[in-house]
């Protein structure tokens, strides 16, 4: 598997979205490349290599081919290599928000808070958070007048397909 394949499998396990949404065949935005690059820049090449290596090792040992294969691998990855959970969660946040998070531990009452830095205009509009709410990015819709009076397409349509 090349690093991008593993990166996408890891991202599927983290985000709960399908391959068709994260890495569509006709991928005009190619947001996955921006995110892999950002992941490397923020957590170092060595850490990313190691996370992807461990992902592949665990994946190989998994018996059968369960439908939630990627999520199972991520569960095992977090158990085996707890030091990789936080960087992977930051990657998860990046996919959803299109922004790189800074997690701080105050206030203690809320177990901390998160600030974030938008990576690009594309990363904002491609954020999965808009899809998980069955909507569109605030400020960028392809829907037409009046759509808001009716329920949206089912959630599965947003999880499986590109925008």
């Amino acid at each position: 598997m090349d690093p991008m394949d593993t990166f996408i499998s890891l991202s599927i396990g983290l985000t709960g979205f399908k391959r068709g949404a994260l890495a569509p065949d006709d991928d005009t935005h190619d947001i996955k490349s921006l995110y892999l690059k950002t992941f490397v820049e923020r957590v170092t090449q060595a850490t990313v290599d190691d996370i992807l290596l461990w992902y592949r090792l665990i994946d190989k040992q998994l018996l059968g081919n369960p439908p939630d294969r990627e999520e199972r691998v991520v569960t095992l990855l977090f158990a085996d290599k707890p030091e990789y959970e936080l960087p992977c969660r930051k990657l998860l946040f990046l996919w959803y928000a299109g922004a790189w998070p800074t997690v701080i531990d105050t206030p203690a009452s809320t177990h901390g808070q998160t600030f974030s830095e938008v990576i690009s205009a594309d990363s904002y509009t491609q954020g999965l958070v808009w899809r998980v709410m069955q909507s569109h990015p605030m400020g960028s819709t392809t829907y037409n007048y009046g759509y808001w009076a009716n329920p949206p397409p089912p959630l599965s349509a947003y999880l499986e397909n590109p925008v």
Partner: protein, 658 residues
């Protein structure tokens, strides 16, 4: 930009090219008058895509985020300036932004200069001072760039608050002011291109005993049919009719809105859910629409990046306006000039207008500034102070879709209760908890990183003793990923509800804009602002709003998530900007974006700046427009009234010019 002075000179100089200044310019230009606009900000960009890209890449998507000067990432981030906000003293056209509210005591960040609260002041003291909650823009087209689009009339009783309820002040002529303004309200709906359901408006105003007749009567139609209501609106409409506030039955009214429900000169609204900060397709009206029309008359010219700095007087007449030009926002000034005309109009909104009047203090005989023999310039700063409430619906209502708001509960905008407490309208939000908790990001980080800033992922109870943890089968502070994250987030976002109460504020002469000793990059003084909510009349409305929200969410079968604000800190590093205590409870107020009252109209020169023609009592060739002229906030969002008053002022100026 070269200005060609007409052979007979300019008829009118206007300071500011927002909705009010542009409307006056267009009306005068259409009538063949020669007009020059002096605009402090840059021109409308060739494509609004420039502003949109700035918005997309902004970390904090505040109302001002798309517009220059840049307010985030302008300087390297530091611990006490994590967003890299610029120092206002380094900018040629700084303005107040909502990001400055939490930094209100930091003079290197906040453009408004505030004194610290009085030492040891009690959190429920009426003398507690606050950060002002609302902001504005200094660009061509003005603050309507980040306008929601709400286009409501005020009510007759809004104009006679004193004589009817013994509160605040009347507008000149009381309820007659409303009836004189009606034809201009009609014209204003045409200027803006308001989409509204006329029948719903007739039904609404009937409940306030307002009978429309004549020009605004049966044969009047809004320019476009009403905007389709959201699923959210329909739920409220079905459920709130079981409720009353102070014996007034509640019902939902679709809001008249300044956005296209049909394709026309502008595009049809596509529901980008982004009216504030920026409509990406200009389906929503903004001042640049009328500015373009004004310039197209051939009789209106404009100077950009020209900041009005002084008003000259000759005797008691205005004889010229001085300005300073600049090229780049942090660069040096590039020149100065003076413009002259037969009449002058100030349209620089309710902070920069009084600032300009107060700065103009070197005219012999006018040491307190121009138009300020009453001492009222800069006083009576007001906003609709907002109470926010939020909750989760039982079933999906699919938030974050459609215009930010498409309906409201207007019934509590007037009634006998107004002898005791402020009126409010209740805006129904379509944008989930975007305003209330900065969602979607806060819910997202709560469930990814095991935090609980939304109360959805912890152990707490709401004030009705209901547990707030969203999924009782999960432990508190859960960290989710994969399918479980998808399911939790989806179930939360599609149910998010938000109500906003626009509470009227009374004029208080000590709430004011003055000149500070600090300056901007052009050497002009930065505003010193003092702001309190002293009146029980206003504070009582917060108590009412809180009770009513709980009743509404109960009627909907929704669970309330409104957070109790953290305790008031009146000293130290983190002075609370907008929280107060009252009657044993604690409230945070929000700005509605409605900056009102700093050069008010009145019936006598001793206690007002303008007569009802919006003409200075002191200088008969000087007019002022915008919400600064309002004697009280009244109960409607101000823009339609601003537009109507600008149209009326244009007629008055035309009459003067003959």
């Amino acid at each position: 930009m070269s200005i060609v002075t007409p052979s007979g000179g300019f008829d009118v100089v206007i300071v500011g090219s927002g909705i009010a200044g542009s409307i006056v310019a267009y009306q005068l230009g259409k009538a063949g008058k020669q007009v020059l606009i002096v605009e402090g900000g840059p021109p409308v960009p060739k494509s609004r895509e420039e502003y949109l890209q700035t918005f997309f890449t902004s970390n904090a998507k505040t109302p001002e985020s798309p517009y220059p000067p840049t307010i985030q990432g302008a300087v390297p981030a530091t611990d006490d300036n994590p967003l890299g906000q610029p120092n206002p003293s380094s900018l040629n056209t700084p303005r107040y932004t909502v990001l400055q509210i939490n930094a209100w005591q930091n003079r290197n960040i906040s453009y408004f200069v505030y004194d610290a609260p009085q030492a040891g002041i009690a959190p429920d003291s009426p003398e507690l001072t606050f950060a002002f909650g609302s902001s504005y823009e200094r660009v061509a087209g003005g603050t309507t760039w980040h306008w929601l689009g709400t286009s409501l009339n005020n009510l007759p009783n809004d104009f006679q608050l004193k004589s009817r309820y013994g509160q605040g002040v009347d507008w000149p002529g009381g309820s007659q002011f409303f009836y004189r303004l009606l034809p201009y309200y009609r014209k204003a709906t045409e200027v803006i291109g308001v989409s509204a359901d006329k029948q719903a408006m007739v039904e609404l105003y009937k409940t306030f005993n307002v009978e429309f007749s004549g020009e605004y009567g049966d044969n009047y139609g809004f320019p476009m049919p009403g905007i389709v209501e959201s699923m959210n609106d329909v739920l409220y409409a079905q459920k709130v009719t079981t409720l009353k506030v102070d014996d007034i039955p509640l019902f939902v009214t679709p809001t008249p809105q300044g956005r296209n429900s049909r394709p026309g000169n502008r595009r049809q609204c596509a529901g980008n859910t982004n009216c504030i900060p920026i409509c990406p397709i200009q389906a929503k009206y903004d001042g640049s629409v009328t500015l373009a029309q004004a310039l197209q008359t051939g009789n209106v010219q404009i100077l950009y990046k020209a900041v009005a700095s002084n008003i000259r007087l000759n005797g008691n007449q205005v004889s010229g306006i001085d300005y300073i030009t600049y090229d780049s926002q942090t660069g040096p000034s590039t020149g100065t000039g003076t413009v002259t005309a037969k009449r002058y109009v100030l349209a620089a909104h309710a902070i920069e207008t009084p600032k300009l009047l107060l700065m103009s203090k070197n005219n012999p005989g006018w040491p307190n500034g121009v138009a300020n023999s009453s001492g009222q310039v800069g006083r009576n700063l007001m906003d609709h102070v907002m109470y926010l409430a939020w909750g989760l619906a039982k079933d999906p209502i699919y938030a974050f879709r459609g215009p930010l708001s498409t309906a409201g509960i207007e019934a509590a905008r007037d009634g006998a209760f107004r002898s005791q407490r402020a009126a409010y309208r209740i805006e129904i939000g379509n944008e989930g908890w975007n305003w209330a908790t900065n969602d979607p990001n806060t819910t997202l980080s709560d469930f990814i990183f095991g935090q609980n800033n939304t109360q959805l992922n912890g152990d707490s109870l709401n004030q009705q003793s209901q547990p707030l943890r969203f999924d009782p089968t999960l432990p508190a502070f859960s960290k989710l990923f994969g399918t479980r994250l998808v399911n939790a987030l989806n179930a939360i976002y599609v149910r998010q509800l938000r109500l906003g109460y626009l509470i009227e504020q009374l004029p208080d002469p000590d709430n004011r804009v003055q000149l500070s000793s600090l300056t901007d990059n052009l050497g002009l003084p930065r505003p010193a602002v003092t702001y309190r909510i002293r009146d029980d009349y206003v504070r009582n409305a917060f108590v009412s709003a809180k009770q009513v929200s709980t009743q509404i969410f109960n009627a909907l079968g929704a669970k309330e998530y409104t957070q109790l604000p953290a305790a008031v800190q009146s000293s130290g590093d983190t002075v609370t900007p907008t929280t107060f205590e009252y009657k044993g409870d604690r409230f945070t107020f929000y700005g509605a974006g409605h900056i009102i009252g700093t050069y008010r109209m009145g019936t006598a020169p001793r206690d007002s700046v303008l007569n009802r023609r919006q003409q200075s009592w002191d200088h008969s060739n000087l007019y002022m427009v915008g919400s600064g002229v309002f004697p009280s906030t009244a109960t409607a969002n101000p823009t339609l009234t601003i537009a109507a008053l600008a149209l009326q002022a244009a007629d008055n100026i035309l009459h003067d010019l003959g």
